[in-house]
């Protein structure tokens, strides 16, 4: 392989494998992706994988076993840049909703008392619970455009594009009728952008699957929902579906800023 090419590793922890699959879903760009960069490791796509020094590691999935903690630490040591690739790696995924106690109870309900021999499980956590993360690309799964923008910029050494705004911004560009005005509790104001406002485009309320929005003043959005007399508890409960371990922190900021 060409020495000048960026060395990239794509790793899967626990999740639905959708973010890794999304790379294979770039059908028309796939051969170019493999030619433009030196893809050192990508288990879903190839058998001849090498675990060496990397320029960029894309890590998808959340951490749910002790083995994965070790793997993740090893990836961090080998890679200059680690990207939390997708919602699971960024916030822990839908599987990170339970507190420790609730998780243990539910684990027992499904697996009983059986001792696992291959690896011990831990409650699901985003990767930044164990290592430093350089960049977050959320989404369930990551948007194809988001990935391609990131990838082509990385090839040119340019900084990644961020999406510091909620879904509402793109939804307005798409000229959708606001569902909130129709009394439908849409999570667009609180959810990170990047999906292209796909649900409102289909006349459906946003489910929140890009996780909590950053920047662009979500606090005022939150209070707007309150003003419009939406049930805040129900909204929090729905936000919790895709906010993983970052939910509490997200709602905490509204309390602080309102004081």
């Amino acid at each position: 392989m060409n020495k000048d090419k960026l060395k990239i590793g794509i790793y899967e922890l626990t999740g639905c494998a959708g973010c890794a699959l999304l790379i294979l879903d770039c059908e028309m760009e796939l051969i170019d992706i493999f030619n433009a960069a030196d893809i050192q490791s990508f288990l879903m796509a190839k058998s001849d994988n090498i675990d060496g020094e990397l320029d960029i590691a894309l890590v998808e999935g959340s951490v749910t076993t002790e083995k994965e903690i070790e793997e993740l630490k090893d990836i961090r040591e080998r890679a200059k840049v680690v990207v939390a690739f997708g919602l699971c790696a960024s916030v822990g995924g839908i599987q990170a909703r339970f507190g420790n106690k609730e998780w243990k109870e539910n684990y027992k309900k499904i697996y009983g008392d059986i001792e696992m021999t291959h690896t011990k499980s831990v409650q699901s956590q985003p990767i930044d619970a164990y290592i430093d993360v350089d960049l977050y690309l959320p989404g369930c799964p990551v948007g194809k455009e988001q990935f391609l923008h990131f990838f082509t910029r990385a090839l040119k050494g340019a900084p990644p594009e961020k999406y510091p705004r909620p879904v509402c911004v793109t939804c307005k560009y798409n000229e959708n009728d606001c569902l909130l005005n129709k009394g439908i509790p849409c999570l667009g104001p609180l959810t990170a952008d990047g999906c292209g406002s796909v649900c409102p485009n289909h006349n459906l309320p946003c489910q929140g699957c890009w996780g909590p929005a950053e920047g662009a003043n979500p606090t005022s959005e939150f209070f707007l929902l309150k003003e419009k007399s939406f049930d805040i508890e129900a909204i929090k409960k729905r936000m919790s579906n895709y906010s993983g371990t970052k939910l509490a922190e997200f709602f905490e900021q509204f309390k602080k800023e309102s004081k």
């Binding site: 999304l22 288990l43 879903m44 076993t65 291959h118 579906n241």
Partner: protein, 587 residues
């Protein structure tokens, strides 16, 4: 003893591994492990609304997200008594075709074909098979395009909702899908010829039971309200547990399934075996041309079956679009008012039967049970890997075991995220039997059964050992002649391990002791042993998995009632170990 393993199965969706342990001439253990941790998906949606559940539960798996979507929708709509319009019904079928084309073209060309053409991956294959690689990518893209048009996104689309769709696609979009499907037909025929024509390696042949959805009306299809077995038996959707009988194993976060205590297979091959006769049109012609009875007993034919299903899907798409466009305009979404109910939804995911059961209590989800195809295939994956590994070992091709297991696992197109990476071969340590016997006897109060013929010198080792154990005061020791009297041993549901004591010819040094699971011995024709044929009749598969043979390599099987010196030594060693253990227990 040696262990061969593929720790990280490549070219599969998700992370898992398969391992085989070699003890001398025997494959003593095969395990299909899922390393992905538990996500407790079935508990995550409890207390959520049915709509949130429909959004979240397909997140189990990206590559089967549309199958999960259709399964959860069918379950919810059964539970809440929602009758969707004919247009929504057909659009969902079209969406399902998109997933089959996407998943099957990815699997056959990218994940499986490099195995049969000798490349590490599909991109490397592109240097020689550029046309196939590129067109297959376009085919995959087309499948994704259908899913995006219907469901809003490639992966985890949200447009399909309880009652129908958020928004219907435009007429022009559907006409474009029809035109592209027709445009692909020449390549689709090439695909069938390619995958039905591959000279698949012997697995070796081993028949199994196949299960799939019964589409009804003597049609081929990817969903239904009944489960159909290759024996012809059917179950109504709500009685799915009669088939699946899930249980937890300690080496995997995916539960395993057995039907009547036997492994069964689901997937493309199951559908073609059970329903292939019903294929019409070009798919029907190709089925008649290529299908033969050997497909039934070799999992590599999953790939041939997938190619027939690709053809079926491409033929079905233009029909579907025509049927949809003939229908009157209606509202895309039907409302519902039910607040309680329970329902089961059955669909065929590309890798096999997928079952969703959801219960609603006062507008919120109260119970969820999801049974995925890979979990149902896990037992059969282990069984096929074991027979194949043993055959290679018998032929002296130990170096090929790892790769062969890797390919067998892949043939099932396991979707590990939804069950939960992949092949390993290990050599066991010396005197491994001592460690293993310790492990087994810790599981519960073991029963020992002496087997053999004391008038044929070393063949009497099992019987003589049993008598020694009895005399030493060890509980629950039986002789061959006594086993049928003790019915309790066979019928109770306890986890008591059964340990048969027998002379087994492993072609090893005389006196060598090996502890093996009984099913490995019974399935191994190259071993000579005395185990009664009646044992297979007395014992079910699950119980068999908790039964073992403590085998002693005989020296002589001549007439006579003396044991050879190495065998005598071995049985004394075993007796010593077991009596020491007994003593330490009493203290």
């Amino acid at each position: 003893m040696k262990k061969i393993s593929v720790d990280h199965l490549a070219r599969v969706e998700g992370s898992g591994g398969i391992s085989a342990t070699i003890d001398g001439k025997i494959i003593s253990d095969v395990k299909f492990s899922i390393y992905e941790g538990p996500r407790l998906i079935e508990k995550l949606t409890i207390g959520r609304t049915p709509e949130e559940d429909v959004s979240m539960s397909p997140r189990i798996c990206a590559i089967c997200s549309v199958s999960h979507k259709n399964a959860v929708l069918r379950a919810m709509e059964n539970a809440l008594d929602v009758k969707i319009s004919q247009k929504s019904y057909l659009l969902r079928e079209l969406m399902h075709m998109g997933e089959f084309i996407e998943s099957h073209s990815l699997h056959t060309f990218y994940l499986a074909l490099p195995d049969f053409l000798g490349f590490p991956n599909a991109i490397a294959m592109a240097s020689k098979y550029e046309f196939e690689v590129k067109i297959a990518l376009e085919m995959k893209h087309f499948g994704n395009h259908i899913m995006k048009t219907l469901n809003g996104r490639y992966i985890h689309g949200e447009n399909a909702v309880i009652g129908g769709f958020g928004k219907y696609p435009y007429r022009e979009e559907l006409l474009q899908i029809k035109a592209r499907a027709i445009h692909f037909m020449p390549f689709v025929f090439k695909t069938v010829t390619l995958f039905c024509g591959i000279d698949y390696p012997d697995c070796p042949d081993s028949p199994t039971l196949y299960a799939c959805c019964e589409p009804g009306d003597n049609k081929f299809g990817f969903w239904g309200d009944e489960i159909l077995l290759s024996t012809g038996k059917t179950f109504p959707r709500d009685e799915y547990k009669k088939l699946t009988n899930e249980f937890v194993v300690s080496h995997s976060y995916a539960k395993h399934s057995l039907y009547q205590d036997k492994p069964y297979s689901v997937g493309a091959l199951a559908r073609i075996v059970n329903l292939g006769e019903r294929l019409k049109g070009e798919a029907g012609k190709m089925y008649k041309k290529h299908y033969s009875s050997k497909w039934k007993s070799n999992p590599f034919f999953h790939n041939a079956a997938r190619s027939l299903e690709i053809l079926y899907s491409f033929e079905r798409i233009p029909e579907l679009v025509d049927e949809i466009l003939k229908l009157q305009e209606d509202t895309s979404r039907v409302d519902y008012s039910a607040e309680n109910g329970k329902g089961t939804g059955l669909v065929e995911a590309p890798r096999g039967l997928l079952i969703h059961h959801h219960e609603i209590t006062e507008k919120l989800v109260s119970q969820v049970d999801i049974i995925t195809p890979t979990a149902q295939n896990a037992e059969d994956i282990e069984r096929y890997c074991h027979v194949a590994a043993q055959k290679l070992l018998d032929e002296g091709k130990e170096d090929q075991i790892r790769d062969r297991m890797d390919i067998i696992v892949r043939a099932f197109d396991p979707c590990i995220s939804c069950s939960a990476h992949m092949a390993e071969v290990k050599n066991a340590p010396k005197n491994n039997w001592k460690i293993q016997l310790e492990e087994v006897t810790q599981k519960g109060d073991s029963a020992f059964i002496g087997v053999g013929n004391p008038t044929l010198s070393d063949d009497g080792a099992g019987i003589k050992l049993a008598r020694k154990l009895k005399n030493a005061g060890i509980q629950d020791v039986l002789l061959e002649s006594e086993i049928e009297q003790d019915e309790d041993l066979w019928t109770n549901d306890s986890d008591r391990p059964l340990i048969f004591l027998d002379a087994v010819d492993f072609n090893e040094d005389p006196g060598k002791v090996t502890l093996l699971p009984l099913h490995l011995i019974i399935n191994n024709i190259s071993l000579s042993h005395r185990l009664l044929p009646t044992i297979s009749g007395l014992i079910n598969y699950k119980k068999m998995k908790n039964a073992y043979v403590l085998g002693i390599q005989p020296d002589s099987l001549q007439k006579g009632n003396q044991l050879s010196a190495p065998v005598e030594k071995a049985i004394n060693e075993i007796k010593q170990l077991l009596t020491d253990k007994g003593d330490s227990k009493e203290q």
